[in-house]
């Protein structure tokens, strides 16, 4: 089967693949931007409430997760350098480390949400209903934005797990790595979004 495919010059457009990925990422940016705009408007409307609700956030966990994601971006981009040099083992190590750090991020996030929910700060809770509208909006945005971001981390981990197998099987190699490059682009964008979420929620107080 494969021989037949190789006998015929295959259609391949790495730049097109990358451009397509970037166009998709731009729609992702605009998706989150709607939420960022909503946050900006609400924060100017309820500055005191946002400040007060921000004191309930666990800044240490937020900063820790930032370092975790920044480091995962590094291991991701290093795996691409490795595959371009034909260092397959190192490339797998990089992607593996990225997946692992992504999981660490989600575990931290789970602890954080668990604590917030334990404090009664979750949408629809009786405690939240007693708070002023501005604080309710803050927690609404907090769960929506970190939740949507968390889903993206989960998707990123799934995509990278597939890439790990593809590198192992030689489907991603020194000569054809645009798939890994695109997976990396997605992962880095998830990192960029978190870079903005950190000061908006965890350092707001």
């Amino acid at each position: 089967m494969n021989q037949a495919a190789h006998a015929h010059p295959e259609h391949r457009d790495d730049f097109g693949a990358k451009l397509g990925m970037w166009l998709f990422l731009l729609t992702e940016i605009l998706l989150f931007s709607g939420l960022f705009l909503g946050y900006a408007w609400m924060r100017t409307r309820y500055p005191a409430e946002f400040h007060h609700a921000g004191t309930e956030m666990n800044a240490v966990l937020g900063v820790t997760n930032t370092i975790v994601l920044l480091t995962s971006s590094l291991t991701m981009v290093l795996s691409l350098v490795a595959i371009q040099r034909g260092e397959r083992k190192r490339a797998m190590l990089g992607v593996g480390a990225t997946i692992l750090l992504g999981l660490v991020f989600l575990v931290n996030k789970a602890f954080e949400w668990h604590a917030e929910i334990h404090h009664g700060n979750y949408p629809g809770s009786a405690h939240l209903a007693t708070l002023p509208p501005g604080e309710q909006v803050f927690f609404g945005l907090y769960y929506t934005m970190t939740g949507l971001h968390g889903v993206h981390v989960l998707v990123g981990i799934s995509v990278l797990s597939v890439m790990l197998v593809m590198i192992k099987r030689g489907r991603i190699s020194r000569d054809r790595f645009v798939v890994l490059e695109n997976g990396g682009l997605y992962w880095h964008l998830v990192d960029v979004i978190w870079i903005f979420l950190l000061p908006l929620f965890y350092l707001a107080a």
């Binding site: 990358k18 166009l23 590094l74 290093l78 371009q84 682009l185 870079i195 950190l198 707001a204």
Partner: protein, 109 residues
């Protein structure tokens, strides 16, 4: 240019990176960028602790620099051609216009 690439798939395979190749950055560049990103995060935390006004300025000044570093280096925009840079810029400028409109609306409401 796209046509040329498509008609010569073998060449495209032999030259892994059209816009980098030998100029492609090594491990060191990215480790350095990562160190700067971590340092900027520390700076952002410090600035945010010194008061509400400083926190907002930290958010508005330091955060975009961090995002730009990720875009420029980790996401390889630095090593891409003009077309991709323009496409991304158009989207980001559009976004800036949206934010400018929002804040002008808030300011003059």
């Amino acid at each position: 240019m796209g046509e040329g690439e498509m008609s010569e798939p073998m060449t495209a395979g032999a030259v892994p990176d059209l816009h980098g190749g030998h100029a492609a950055p090594g491990y060191g560049t990215f480790v350095a960028v990562w160190a700067v990103l971590v340092a900027l995060t520390a700076l952002l935390v410090l600035v945010s602790r010194s008061g509400q006004g400083a926190a907002v300025w930290g958010l508005l000044l330091i955060t975009p620099v961090k995002a730009a570093l990720v875009f420029y280096f980790f996401m390889h925009l630095r090593y891409e051609g003009l077309l991709l840079k323009v496409v991304v810029s158009v989207a980001l400028v559009t976004l800036l216009i949206f934010f400018a409109l929002l804040f002008s609306d808030i300011a003059f409401h």
